[in-house]
């Protein structure tokens, strides 16, 4: 999806994009009828991820929105094997599931049918409480894909800040007041932490770019070894924005450079989408109630930071 100068290739790509949806399976392994909020970007992302994963998969889920809105007893939204145990242990549980298959296949107790192992967690379950278990699983080199659905706060418990909450955002534990602009720290760069583990595949994605997302899911599960996918998931409830803006805000996050889409394959950076010029962050921020209180000076500070980070990323990807 990178920009190409050659007109012919562009045209070919355009054509391919028009027909791409026809190649996407109509099978839904993540069943409709779940209890997510209207406009939930995370539910949309899960649906796309499950389409890409297919049937031959075992999903290990952390406590959080996804678990709550898909598994209210006696109902389930999962048409693939799925397990939830606790909040902070997805990395460890998925290690156990993968090791069980590995051992039992080697010992001839079961056939090798190429089952894939996937972990699901939110930003809190990944970059805060679950970081240790995930780091251990990546370091040990288990064969699994980890999907972090990042809605930038603890939404399930009522919009409390996490280390993934962006600078200047209002949350219930980083409220706006005379002495506070909300979140006072910059978002933890979780994909870079994954890259530091020298795993074969790290990528960022967003359901506003569904084909890119599905492509990355497929790459992640097919590669041997740990893969980390950080999925930007718009949360209209927590971000205080209309639910019909979910897809648009995902696009704006990418177009402003706030959440760039990229892949790191065996340590090599590739931008998935690049723009000759980034849109001003104001366009993204102004559509959300959580940033309503920001002054021009605050927005300028965010703009400068985003440009700086984007430039660093471009340099890593071999651009200028």
């Amino acid at each position: 999806m990178r920009n190409k100068d050659e007109g012919e290739e562009m045209e070919h790509e355009q054509e391919e994009k028009m027909f791409l949806p026809r190649f996407i399976t109509t099978e839904e392994n993540f069943a409709p009828g779940h209890r997510a909020c209207v406009g939930c970007g995370e539910a949309l992302a899960v649906r796309h991820v499950c389409k890409a994963l297919g049937k031959n998969v075992i999903i290990v889920n952390a406590t959080g929105c996804i678990e709550i809105f898909t598994s209210l007893l006696p109902l389930t939204s999962w048409r693939v094997p799925w397990i939830h145990t606790l909040f902070e242990n997805v990395g460890a549980v998925v290690s156990g599931v993968e090791s069980a298959y590995k051992a039992r296949i080697r010992k001839g107790k079961i056939e090798d049918r190429g089952v894939k192992f996937v972990g699901f967690a939110g930003d809190g379950g990944t970059s805060d409480i679950g970081l240790q278990a995930l780091s251990g699983a990546m370091e040990r080199g288990h064969n699994f894909l980890y999907c972090c659905f990042d809605n930038e706060a603890y939404m399930n418990t009522g919009i409390q800040r996490s280390s993934s909450t962006p600078y200047g955002a209002w949350t219930t534990t980083a409220p706006v007041g005379k002495k506070s602009i909300g979140q006072m720290t910059w978002k933890k760069n979780m994909p870079e932490i994954a890259v530091a583990h020298r795993i074969p595949y790290v990528a960022t994605a967003c359901p506003s770019y569904p084909f890119d997302l599905m492509d990355k899911v497929r790459k992640g599960v097919e590669l041997e070894g740990p893969a980390y996918l950080h999925i930007f998931s718009v949360c209209p409830t927590g971000w205080r924005c209309p639910p019909n803006l979910s897809v648009e805000l995902g696009r704006l996050a990418v177009e402003t450079g706030i959440f760039p889409l990229y892949e790191v394959i065996n340590g090599e950076y590739h931008l998935s989408v690049d723009f000759p010029e980034l849109k001003p962050v104001r366009e993204y921020l102004k559509k959300q109630g959580r940033f309503r209180h920001l002054t021009e000076k605050d927005i300028e500070r965010i703009q400068a930071r985003v440009e700086e980070e984007y430039q660093k990323l471009k340099e890593k990807a071999g651009g200028k």
């Binding site: 075992i58 209210l72 145990t85 242990n89 156990g96 599931v97 090791s99 298959y101 039992r104 278990a133």
Partner: protein, 395 residues
């Protein structure tokens, strides 16, 4: 007639032998004294190719138990072991296999809790995990450690049970002490613990959702079902121990007694101190005192009936606690009191707390407990409460 080949084995190695003979698929553990010899021995067995298993060297005990849960849910036979702070760190995860009916088998090499830091034995860690819904047994020596570990797999995986099981061995007293152990025949053990298949596993051919979210309209039913099933594992546990006895010649009971004939008083112990208490009982008997010994083998589910039967002719029961429930006294003593309250209000139950943080409990200490308990009973009016007492502590 007890069967096997007599070898000298550390308690840790006895456990490792049982795990090897059980042909486990996945081991997941984090090092903590005094459990380390078990995992080191297992790692060697895998390195030497005598055990074919995945060893997940996790980054914490929380992850050790989490990985066991994942592996067990995927149909593997698993093992982990820990102690003290490690059991405390995995505490949250311990409730998962019992509530999701996964037959995880674990060993606790019992050790004191910080602070101050102590690597030595007591039962503080075991008492902190009383309510986790696991089958829990206490071994008295290395032979029992091995035998109970073999039985733990058979019991946990039984279709009528499907609960996790934990064998408690006293840190250092068993884990690091070499004793003569009858090593059972490998094939007989393999026959005793056949390959199992859990009725519900994570398998794309037959998708299931595990660990769903339980709102108030379903949670109490789930918990009642768990408790009813857990309580009803008792006959099965005994049945499996009997079958073990018939196969290997060593029999086990939920509550075991020693020299209880005509006894008016008895000591009650758990774990390795039972053997010291036996020697104390022998001496007391030689001195003409009618004292016996009761050892709790099965700790959970609690053996109410067997305990009531064991104390039926007693006037005095002296309970040793190797742990302290702050502001409450000894946890074993309070449980024994509550188990006997309905049927034996007349029985004098006197609790002592000793052996914290690896302080040895000697034969003399047990003899002192019996004398002291008698004196204390005489010093109070009938029905008056006797406060628990810590002994062997400098004032």
């Amino acid at each position: 007639m007890t069967k096997g080949r007599l070898v000298g084995l550390e308690g840790s190695f006895a456990i490792a032998e049982a795990v090897r003979m059980a042909n486990v698929d996945v081991i997941s553990a984090y090092p903590i004294t005094p459990q380390t010899h078990i995992v080191e021995r297992l790692a060697e067995m895998i390195a030497d190719g005598v055990l074919d298993a995945e060893f997940i060297c996790v980054e914490s005990e929380h992850s050790a138990m989490s990985a066991c849960v994942g592996a067990s849910a995927a149909g593997a036979r698993v093992f982990t072991c820990s102690a003290s702070q490690g059991l405390e760190l995995m505490h949250e995860v311990l409730y998962i296999p019992s509530s999701m009916r996964l037959p995880v088998v674990a060993v606790a090499a019992n050790r004191a809790l910080s602070a101050p830091l102590s690597v030595w034995c007591d039962h503080s860690d075991a008492m902190a995990i009383r309510d986790i819904g696991w089958i829990q047994v206490f071994a008295e020596n290395n032979q029992q450690a091995l035998d109970l570990q073999v039985c733990a797999y058979r019991t946990a995986e039984d279709k009528e049970v499907l609960f996790p099981a934990m064998v408690h061995i006293d840190g250092f007293y068993l884990s690091h002490v070499i004793e003569g152990v009858m090593l059972p025949d490998e094939e007989e053990v393999a026959h005793f613990i056949p390959d199992y298949r859990h009725p519900f596993v994570l398998d794309p051919e037959n998708p299931v959702s595990m660990g769903c979210y339980g709102p108030p309209f379903i949670y109490p039913e789930a918990k009642k079902a768990q408790e009813v099933d857990f309580q009803s594992t008792k006959p099965k546990i005994q049945e499996i121990w009997n079958e073990f006895g018939e196969t290997f010649g060593r029999y086990y009971l939920p509550v075991e007694t020693y020299r209880m004939e005509d006894a008016r008083s008895a000591l009650l112990t758990m774990g390795s101190s039972g053997e010291t208490a036996m020697l104390a009982v022998d001496e007391l008997r030689r001195e003409g005192k009618e004292v016996g010994l009761i050892r709790l083998r099965l700790w959970r589910p609690f053996p109410f009936k067997e305990l009531r039967e064991a104390v039926k002719d007693l006037e005095l029961l002296v309970v040793l606690d190797r742990a302290l429930s702050f502001g409450m006294g000894g946890p074993v003593c309070s449980e024994v009191k509550s188990a006997l309250y309905d049927k034996r209000k007349d029985l004098n139950i006197v609790g002592f707390i000793a052996g914290l943080g690896g302080r040895d409990i000697t034969i003399e200490a047990f003899k002192h407990m019996v004398d002291r308990a008698r004196a204390r009973v005489k010093a109070v009016e009938p029905g008056e409460e006797i406060e628990p007492e810590m002994i062997g502590v400098r004032e």
